[in-house]
Every structure is written in C-alpha cells, then in structure tokens.
C-alpha cells in the first residue's frame, strides 16, 4: 500500500437495494469527503428472462416482456409488439397506435412523477415527495380504469391494443391532466427558483456533453447534457409519426438539469396526450396476427421514460422465438454514474445515483465503512441522513422548505 493509498477509505455500498430496477453494488473509494473512485457491480436481479422467452410462445412472451420492469412495462411491450408486427408484416390500425401513445405518455408522466418524488426524498425534501406521489395516484387511477390494472396494464397485444377507448376514458384523462398541468407549473416554479433546492442540485453529478456521448448515456441524463437524442424524434414510430414532439434538452449537465428536463418532459407529455385525444382517428383497434411468425430478425427501439429501449427478436419460423434480447435504458446509464460519482462528495452519492432514475432508491442497502481496523455498518437511510445533515451544516436546510 503506497503512502497515498493510506489516506483513502473504501466504502462498499450494496448489493441489495430494494425497489431499484437493478440492485447494484457501488464500491466507493474516498479521500476525505471526495469520491476518487467508484466501481459498480450489477446483476442481482438477473432472472434469466431471455432464456425463458425461447421456450415459450410469442403471446406468452409478451406477458414476460411486460414484466421486465413494472414501471415502464408499456414501453417494453410496445417494442416487442412492434418487432412481431414488423416480422409478420401486419399493419397496425392508426387508432391503436394513438391509444399506445396515450398510454405511453401517461406512463412517462407517472414514471417522472415517481422520480421527482424519490429524488426529493433523497435530498430530504419529503413534502415534495408526498405531493408528487399524490399526483401520481391519479394517473394510476386512469390506468386502472382503462387497462384494468394499476401497474402492468397489459394494453398491448400483437396487432393493436386490447381495449376500446371510449368517451368517458378520454374525458377522464383530459380532466386529470388539466389538473396535473396546474401542479406541474408549480413544481417547475419551485425547481427553478427555490434557492435551497437549486443549491443542493446544481453542479452535482456532472456528466459533460463529451462524457455523455462517450459513455452512451440515454434519456433525461443525455438530454440534460445537451444531447438531443429522443427516439420519438430521431426515429418516429407508431403515431409519433403524426404527433408533433418537442425535443427537450438542457445544457446544465448536472442533477439540476435532469430535474428540469424531466419536468419539461412531463409538460410536453401533457400536450402530446391532449393532441392525441383530439386527433384520434376512428376504426379498428386490433388486427389478427398469425401464431407462427415468419423467420427473420428485427431490431426495434422505443423511447421509454428513462431513455432508449432496444428489443431484438429473431424468429426461426416456429411459434417460439429463437432469440430475444431486451436492452433497458438504465443499463446504458450505469456507465455514466460511475463517472459522475468520481468528482463528487460522499454527501452527493444518494442524489447522484437517484438522478439517473434507477427507480426507487431508499432502504436497506447495507453500507460498510471500512477504515483501517474499524468497520462501521451503515444503511442507505443513514447515508441519506448523513447527506442531509452535511448540507445543513453548509447552511442548506431542505426540511425547512414549505410547498
């Protein structure tokens, strides 16, 4: 061990991180307060879905694919359906495509609200957490009334959607998003002007434009670094070919930028839903797709709430796929996190990890602080508390904020 190494403290975080998409270990090396190195290890949620897909029929696979992630389930099933539809050469009715877009945007709204809440929770701003999750409930109610379930709504099927979209559903949706739009304005105002929040988020978890390109960041992380990469714009699919989508970017490249991007994206989603409901064509909602899928291979991508979502399907002409590969957006953003953590302080670790939206980051990741012979055991909650207290000492007290 060299002289400089003696001053360093290594902190392994993880691996269990409940509610996170992909539970991970973070081995963080500290020099005083500063993080000098971070190594990530993932794979704790590896279940072997892709192998399972190979021994089940396509329609069974649709339900497995939907359960890759409970939060962006619609994005995954859309990508898989698009692949099958392209392989069979089926043309999906436009009405179904519009319904898919509406559900996808509602999903984006609930996912971003979820993120906004948990990010605020990580920095100790629990008031906002409760407000955003209250708003989120209304979106889940819409999902339940249209799809029949709050999560994993199963709207998609090969060749279209499974439920007719009636007048009551659309008027309910309009009513809810009008309300939400008002709330979003308020959140935007807080995010932009509230000095306490701004000073807590600004300059944290920097990922510059070049680094974001280099590490292949996607979704809001890339958009906040000024990369206008959105599949809805870059390669419009389904009804996005007809619906105008404004590309949201920001050049702040930090957690603050990611917050702003997400709130603006929500406002954009509200506009898209309004447009889609207004311009939705009539007609069928689904066409029949044969059980046997012609041989071929196809690569589809959609914009999930967290970024680009790639599905690869190879068919060998039977009713079971030869190979299915799902690439979720978080998978692409993990590389960036490793880099983002490096320049920051220990107190910024929770919010930096939360900022890429690895879903919910909260309880019981056992953290062992190992300095020399002393071994301390800390959990995620304590780390979060540590970060809140650290900033309090710096004069930034989020808990005093009122909404």
């Amino acid at each position: 061990m060299s002289e400089t190494d003696k001053n360093k403290v290594v902190i392994p975080i993880g691996p269990q991180h409940p509610s996170l998409d992909e539970p991970a270990t973070f081995t963080i090396t500290l020099e005083g307060e500063k993080v000098v190195n971070a190594v990530i290890g993932v794979g704790y949620n590896h279940r072997g879905l892709e192998k399972a897909c190979e021994s089940r029929t396509y329609i069974q696979d649709l339900y497995i694919i939907e359960r890759v992630c409970g939060i962006c389930s619609h994005a995954h099933s859309t990508a898989f359906c698009m692949a099958i539809e392209e392989l069979t050469g089926v043309k999906v009715p436009m009405r179904a495509e519009y319904i898919r877009v509406i559900v996808a945007e509602l999903e984006r709204l609930h996912s971003h609200l979820l993120w906004l809440g948990t990010a605020c929770h990580e920095i100790g701003y629990d008031t906002m957490f409760m407000y955003t999750w209250r708003d989120r409930e209304k979106i889940l109610d819409l999902m339940a009334s249209y799809g029949g379930n709050r999560i994993n709504y199963g709207v998609n099927t090969f060749g279209g959607v499974r439920r007719e979209f009636d007048e009551t559903t659309s008027s309910d949706i309009i009513k809810t998003i009008d309300e939400l739009d008002e709330h979003l304005k308020r959140y935007m105002e807080i995010a932009l002007t509230e000095t306490t929040l701004v000073s807590r988020l600004k300059g944290v978890g920097m990922l510059s434009h070049e680094d974001a390109l280099n590490f292949g960041a996607v979704g809001p992380v890339a958009k906040a670094a000024g990369i206008g990469y959105d599949i809805r714009v870059a390669e419009p699919y389904g009804a996005y070919k007809e619906i105008p989508v404004k590309l949201i970017t920001d050049d702040r490249a930090d957690v603050y930028g990611r917050t702003v991007v997400r709130i603006l994206e929500m406002q954009e989603s509200v506009k898209i839903i309004r447009y889609a409901i207004k311009n939705m064509p009539g007609g069928d909602i689904a066409v029949k797709v044969p059980r046997r899928i012609p041989a071929g291979e196809i690569l589809t991508r959609v914009e999930a709430p967290r970024g680009e979502n790639i599905h690869f399907v190879r068919s060998n002409g039977t009713d079971m796929p030869d190979r299915v590969r799902v690439k979720a957006p978080t998978e692409a953003n993990w590389h960036g996190v490793q880099h983002m953590l490096k320049s920051g302080r220990l107190a910024d670790v929770p919010i930096t990890i939360a900022a890429i939206d690895p879903c919910y980051s909260c309880t019981d990741r056992a953290i062992v602080v190992n300095s020399g012979d002393n071994i301390n055991v800390m959990d995620w909650k304590q780390l979060r508390q540590y970060s809140i207290d650290w900033y309090k000492k710096e004069g930034i007290d989020i808990t005093a904020l009122k909404l």
Binding site: G48, Y63, W133, R150, N152
Partner: protein, 149 residues
C-alpha cells in the same frame, strides 16, 4: 412468561415497523408497497412505519421471485430480524415464483427460502390488498376484544 408474550404481542400489534426487500421483482409490487405508505393509502396513519434496517423491523415485506443472487441475502436479513418476526410475500412471484418460475436464476417463491406468514397474490398487488394483509396479520395477534391473545 405468558405475560411477557402478551406484552410483546400487544406492542407489535400497535405499531409494526416494516422492512421492504426486493428479492428479484419487476418493481411493480415494490412501487405499490411504497404507494401504500404515501398520501392516498397512508399506512403510516395506522402506525406502520417503513424502516431501513432489519434489526428494528417487525414485518418483512418481500416482493418478487427469489433469484440465486439474493437468496443468501434474504436468509441473512431474515436472521438479523429480532423475534417476533413476520413475513408477508407480496405478489404472485413472491408466493410461487409466478411468471418467472423455471427461469435459470430463479429459485421460486419466498417460502422456498424462509417461512412465510401471509401470502398475497396479485400482479401487481394493489395497495388496498397490502393494507388488508397487514391488518389481517395484526388482527391475528389480537383476541376478540382487541387485546393481546
């Protein structure tokens, strides 16, 4: 002895602290567990508090089919919890392995690893069901008059 048990049961039934553990779920049930603690459903109003460390928790709320990687950690967390402890398996995957049963990295339901007190099927489980499960578990500790058994 009987009195001590009575006192513990009485205490547990009033304000149980829950520990949430994702053993390999798709995140649907996890979000619903958190949902049940936020304003709409608000389990906290009946004294249920989500807690971070296993040592202080009374109820382990476990979601998802157990993957090979989390199997040992689930046992470890269960062992760290103090008696009396209860386990709620939330979601179809947690009950039987569900849609993931037979995958090469999945061992099956929670009960293949640790004993389970309440099975709660659903994909995803609704927060109302989670509240009902907690309520049923707590009422099993009480006698008819609402006191400890």
């Amino acid at each position: 002895m009987d009195l001590i048990k009575k006192a513990i049961d009485w205490g547990t039934s009033k304000s149980p602290w829950i520990l949430h553990f994702n053993a390999g779920a798709c995140n649907g049930c996890d979000i619903e567990v958190v949902d049940s603690l936020t304003p709409r459903f608000d389990l906290e109003r009946v004294g249920v508090l989500k807690h971070g460390t296993p040592r202080q928790a009374d109820i382990l709320v476990c979601t998802g089919a157990v993957t090979l990687q989390t199997r040992d950690r689930l046992i470890q967390i269960y062992d760290q919890m103090a008696e009396p402890k209860f386990v709620i398996a939330v979601g179809t995957c947690a009950c039987t392995g569900g849609i993931f049963d037979g995958c090469y990295c999945v061992t099956g339901g929670i009960d293949t690893v640790i004993p389970v007190d309440v099975y709660l099927p659903g994909c995803a489980v609704r927060p109302e069901a989670i509240i009902s499960a907690v309520e049923k578990l707590l009422s099993s500790l009480k006698d008819d008059k609402g006191g400890a058994k």
